[in-house]
């Protein structure tokens, strides 16, 4: 079977940018800035981008293209190609398939809410909710957490889930060039355009209530950008900035490895990686930083901002923004633009989460794309059901912790050490620059070899002690939620084991084939 390829540089950059630009750019980033020192947060944020984000981007693009040269699109084969003598490194690579699957299980469901809400915005279905409490009740009714006058059950949410799930499957079925590339080539410009339209509208808000002149957009921008210098003394702020960079660039999941594996040996990775990162930063700092927080400040004022910023991404996206937008002229259209923007950001990310598992089945088990996609859809459909029906029981938090936090940092640490120390910095640097359109400054050799791994080990250690151990030890989980959380954890262990066995089987088969060929 001939390997799939991107049609060109723009295609792969759009696909990686589409993967990186997600809900976090528009919802998580502004909340983080507002809570962690405003403008001062940008200092550790940019330092993390230079020392952690860009090196990881280049590492993943290079490993991906290198592994693709050996016919591997996923981390087990790539890691094995880089360290052939080690029998166990391929099992570390399982994280690069496991992580995306786990995130996919809840991400597609959340993405389906955005599709639903974009239609609700157009039809004015949530217009009766004039307060935060009303909008929260609408959301909880939709999620099936409570039965109320808005929704009597999960039926509507499930319908939108089925549509979104099918859309993801169709895109994956059409392949790298015909599906993923095509969706991202149109999707990324459209989502940037929608975001620009909304930013312009927010900037034109001025002072919505003349009786409260201090509640205006400029002060809203001040809320997000005025620096609180004392925040820089807090290690938590520095770690929050590193975390934001880490999560926003789609690094450490394995999806960039898979996307880069469809490049040719002499296609550029240095400039392409930088361009994808720059597009993501444009969407995050410039567009994401100018939407929710300034608009919320202009409407609700300084007193309400602390609780809004702390309220989390779902409240910002599904409660605060629709409340604001429905107060404007053509509010239905702006509401539709907001949710459609997030839906496109979501689907261009979720297809990237699906591709590693599909590629693994195709590469390592010689399955056709059709069969691989069908197996992937059947498995993820079944595994998503607990996230849908036990949403309020801690299932999604558990999935997010392992797939979206813990294994991300572990995986990034392993691949960085593998790249810089096992593969070797000289080979790594040469590989990174093969066919390159730019020359990366030489001091990045030092950064990639010493600074990035140390940075990652520090983050790993700090988060493990401060944040992760309590979650691992199930601290704070209520007795009623415990069976659901434990069940999810058991399911994840089983999924990981199944993937490890599949890797083992695949390598055995490959070895047998080689021996038969030699005989």
């Amino acid at each position: 079977m001939a390997r799939e390829k991107w049609s060109g540089k723009i295609g792969v950059i759009m696909a990686v940018a589409g993967s990186a630009i997600g809900l976090g750019n528009f919802l998580r980033f502004p909340g983080q800035v507002a809570q962690n020192g405003g403008g001062a947060f940008i200092i550790p944020y940019f330092i993390s981008l230079l020392l952690l984000g860009l090196p990881l981007m280049w590492i993943e693009w290079t490993i991906g293209r290198f592994g693709g040269g050996f016919g591997h699109s996923t981390a087990p084969g790539m890691f094995h190609s880089m360290w052939e003598k080690n029998r166990f490194i391929k099992y570390f690579g399982v994280i690069g398939i496991f992580g995306p699957i786990v995130i996919y299980l809840y991400y597609v469901y959340i993405e389906s809410w955005l599709l639903g809400y974009s239609l609700f915005a157009l039809t004015g279905r949530y217009n009766a909710c004039a307060t935060s409490e009303g909008m929260v009740a609408f959301l909880h009714g939709y999620q099936g957490i409570m039965h109320n006058e808005y929704f009597s059950g999960l039926g509507t949410a499930y319908l939108f889930y089925l549509i979104t799930f099918a859309l993801n499957g169709i895109v994956l079925y059409y392949g790298v060039r015909g599906g993923i590339e095509r969706v991202c080539k149109y999707g990324v410009p459209v989502l940037l355009l929608l975001a620009i339209i909304l930013v312009v509208r927010v900037f034109l808000l001025g002072t919505p209530d003349a009786a409260q002149p201090e509640n205006n957009v400029l002060n809203g921008l001040g809320f997000i950008w005025n620096p609180d210098w004392s925040a820089l003394k807090s290690s938590r702020v520095w770690l929050a900035a590193a975390g934001q960079i880490f999560f926003t660039l789609s690094c450490g999941i394995g999806v960039i490895l898979t996307y880069a594996s469809y490049l040719n040996k002499n296609d550029d990775v240095a400039l392409s990686g930088l361009t994808a990162a720059a597009a993501n930063e444009f969407a995050e700092v410039i567009l994401g930083g100018s939407l929710v927080i300034p608009a919320a400040f202009a409407f609700f004022g300084a007193d309400a901002m602390a609780s809004i910023a702390r309220g989390g991404v779902f409240n910002l996206g599904f409660v605060t923004m629709p409340l604001i937008l429905q107060k404007l002229a053509f509010g239905n259209l702006f509401g539709f633009a907001w949710f459609m923007l997030l839906f496109i950001a979501g689907i261009t990310s979720s297809i990237s989460l699906g591709q590693p598992a599909v590629a693994f089945l195709m590469d390592e088990f010689n399955l056709s794309r059709r069969k691989a996609v069908l197996i992937f859809m059947a498995v993820t459909f079944v595994l998503t059901q607990p996230a849908i029906f036990f949403l309020g029981r801690g299932v999604v938090d558990e999935l997010d912790f392992w797939g979206g936090s813990f294994f991300l940092v572990v995986f990034a640490t392993v691949e960085t050490i593998l790249f810089a120390w096992v593969f070797g910095m000289d080979r790594a640097w040469t590989e990174l620059h093969a066919g390159s359109d730019i020359t990366i400054p030489r001091f990045y050799r030092f950064i990639i070899k010493y600074v990035t791994p140390l940075f990652l080990l520090f983050i790993l250690g700090f988060w493990l002690v401060e944040d992760w151990l309590p979650v691992m030890l199930l601290k704070g989980v209520s007795k009623t939620d415990l069976p659901f959380v434990l069940g999810t954890r058991l399911g994840l262990v089983l999924l990981f084991l199944v993937l490890m066995i599949m890797v083992r089987q695949s390598w055995k088969r490959r070895k047998l084939r080689r021996e038969n060929y030699a005989a």
Binding site: K9, I10, I13, G38, G39, A40, I42, F46, L218, N219, L221, G222, W225, N226, P227, L271, S272, L274, T275, A278, A279, E281, F282, V285, I286, D437, I438
Partner: protein, 32 residues
Amino acid sequence: MLLSGWLFMGLSWGAILTLFVYCLIRTLGPRK
């Protein structure tokens, strides 16, 4: 918004826009 806020916003936007435009020009332009 304070002057320092404007400064941070201006510098951040300037840095990102410069990088983004540079990357676009290099990516879309002829390969050296």
